[in-house]
């Protein structure tokens, strides 16, 4: 049983216009076995939260803390976080030319486990996982994400999730750009990983569509860098009907007020 705890997190980025605060005090606790959905309109800071947990250098933490079973995640380097059990399924997985999937997967697995996987069982494991996610066998020989379609890249992210068995999976808009079939395949993968019982999931999404396939225990609504509402799965249903307008009105009013001031 593990706990990922985010407390009063403030995050900013450097832009040409100066420092811009994106997260304005976010608190969230995720435990093994739980699925938390973070929903919100574009630009609300959802992806910033995901990237900050993973340690992307673009984001500066100016306040608050992230701990994993009491260990200071913010003090860890990007690779240390991954080895501690944090996995980020990226919104836009990059292509890494010249590095084959096979080599990449084995290198990462070795780094995470601290020892090389046994070749025979590993090969079989990769093959099986690829098959379940309907990834063509020849992908293993190709370079990481090179020439993959958007949907293929997302499936390969979930392939890694299944193979690396993290304590906490952060899915950053994994559903965006997927057709229904691909969405099902990807969701099944997440559910398989979840069913093993050792993983907590933070599901970041703009749409409610994926929540038909991955059932959240908690839903948090993000607006303007803050959690504005929290609840159970029923909150997602309400969002599906009403959209984000209800929250956006307040934010818009604030913007107008600021402009007038």
């Amino acid at each position: 049983m593990s706990t990922l705890e985010i407390k009063d997190l403030h995050v900013s980025i450097d832009t040409e216009q100066g420092t811009k605060e994106i997260l304005k005090g976010v608190s969230l606790t995720i435990k093994t076995g739980q699925t938390h959905a973070i929903m919100g309109p574009n630009g609300s800071g959802k992806s910033t939260l995901a990237s900050t947990i993973a340690g992307h250098p673009r984001y500066n933490v100016t306040g608050g803390s992230i701990t994993l079973d009491g260990e200071d995640v913010l003090a860890m380097s990007v690779d240390e976080r991954a080895r501690a059990g944090v996995f980020l399924a990226m919104q836009y997985p990059v292509e890494v030319p010249g590095v084959s999937m096979t080599n990449f997967l084995r290198t990462a697995k070795t780094a995470i486990d601290g020892e090389a996987p046994k070749l025979r069982t590993w090969t079989k494991e990769v093959k099986d996982a690829m098959q379940k996610l309907r990834i063509d066998a020849d992908f293993a020989q190709r370079n990481v994400n090179e020439g993959f379609s958007g949907g293929e890249k997302k499936r390969v992210e979930i392939l890694q999730l299944e193979l690396f068995k993290p304590k906490f999976a952060i899915l950053d808009e994994t559903d965006s750009g997927l057709d229904v079939d691909a969405l099902k395949v990807v969701s099944e993968g997440v559910n398989r990983a979840h069913a093993e019982g050792n993983m907590g999931t933070l599901l970041i999404t703009h749409y409610t569509r994926i929540l038909r396939y991955i059932k959240p225990d908690f839903v948090h609504v993000f607006v303007d860098g803050q959690v504005v509402e929290e609840g159970g799965p029923e909150l997602a249903d309400r969002l599906e009907e009403e959209g984000y307008d209800r929250y956006a009105t307040g934010a818009g009013a604030a913007t107008i007020a600021a402009a007038q001031a």
Binding site: D79, A82, R83, L88, P93, V94, V99, F104, A108, A111
Partner: protein
Amino acid sequence: MTEITTEKARIGAPSAQPFIDGFTEEGESLSPINAAASKAPLAGEAVKSHSHGGGVGIPDSSRAGRLTSYTLADFKPLTGLEEDWRFTPLKRLRGLHSEVLSGTAPTVTVSGPDRVTVETVARGDKRIGSAGIPEDRVSANAWENFSEATVITVPAEFEADTEVNVVITGQDTAAAAQHIVIVAEKFSKAVVVLDHQGSAVVSENVEIVVEDGATLTVITLQEWNDDAVHASSQQAKIGRDAKFKHVMVSLGGDLVRVTPSARFTGPGGEAEMFGLYFADAGQHLEQRLFVDHAVANCKSNVLYKGALQGRNAHAVWVGDVLIRKEAEGTDTYEANRNLLLTDGARADSVPNLEIETGLIEGAGHASATGRLDDEHLFYLMARGIPEDVARRLVVRGFLHEIIQQIKVPALEERLTDAVERELALTEN
């Protein structure tokens, strides 16, 4: 975060003290005193002739106009301002451009299929001069001073199933001259490996004749000791429907300057030229290519990739492609990519494309010099891979594209290991 620039220009690594001694920010001062002429340097009938250039004060406006001659005296003493020497630190040439090359030439040991003949011949042999004519003073100096040459012949229609290994081992560091001729006769097929090692100060001319319908791969490896100085002019004459592949790998040596050229003399020819270099602190690795599309319907493809690390690591790549008026139906592409792994390294990259006819299939060139992509590193590190391992994965991948062109497994393995050793040096 990512600093990738793509342009036809010289790009230097940012650094506190960014310039190599003797270089301005622009890298050089262009000289007005470059010779020019209109004669084709080498194509068919022109092989044995020579030109003296257009005279003082006429800039070298076309690659076709470069002075070519077998006589050293035809080339003026170098000042370092010449277009083709402006990046080269002449002081470090150890006399290759100015001394009589009387040192002991590196020994040449050849092994390979029995039917491939290896001869040591005197200067007067008729095959000498069959594919090459010096285009610079250092090459002419070697031509004037070599005492005997090695001629390797792949007989007509013979298809070699193992590669021809030519091990060239430096003996001492007195400036020396070397001459090698490789002839792939009609419809033959072979892979020839020129394996340069040891310590030497040598100017080398390699003449490569690819006769009609032949398929020849020449792989030239420069894995010299740290003190070696090597200038190598490797000129290939490509016959009708012949296929030529040239793979250049420069890893070791203080100053290594390889100038490969491919000249088409009959239609239907193909040339692929690949290069890999890894420059460490203080190393100067230079490569200047020339692809001469002098006849119709030939194809060429050039890709050179380099990694640089450490203070004053310097790589130069200049790729000249000339599509002459006669060369209708030409299809050509050339590209150079450099990866700067640390501050203080410098890569100069100049792709030049001259097109004298519009009736071509395609012509393109590209150059990009940049640092390791932070997003690549982040992706790999986010999967638990430590930074040093991630960096190595990316660089290895970057260079592997060239290594996999070699297609001699033992050699690919050896070079992969060599690249690993270079990468291990980065981590201190």
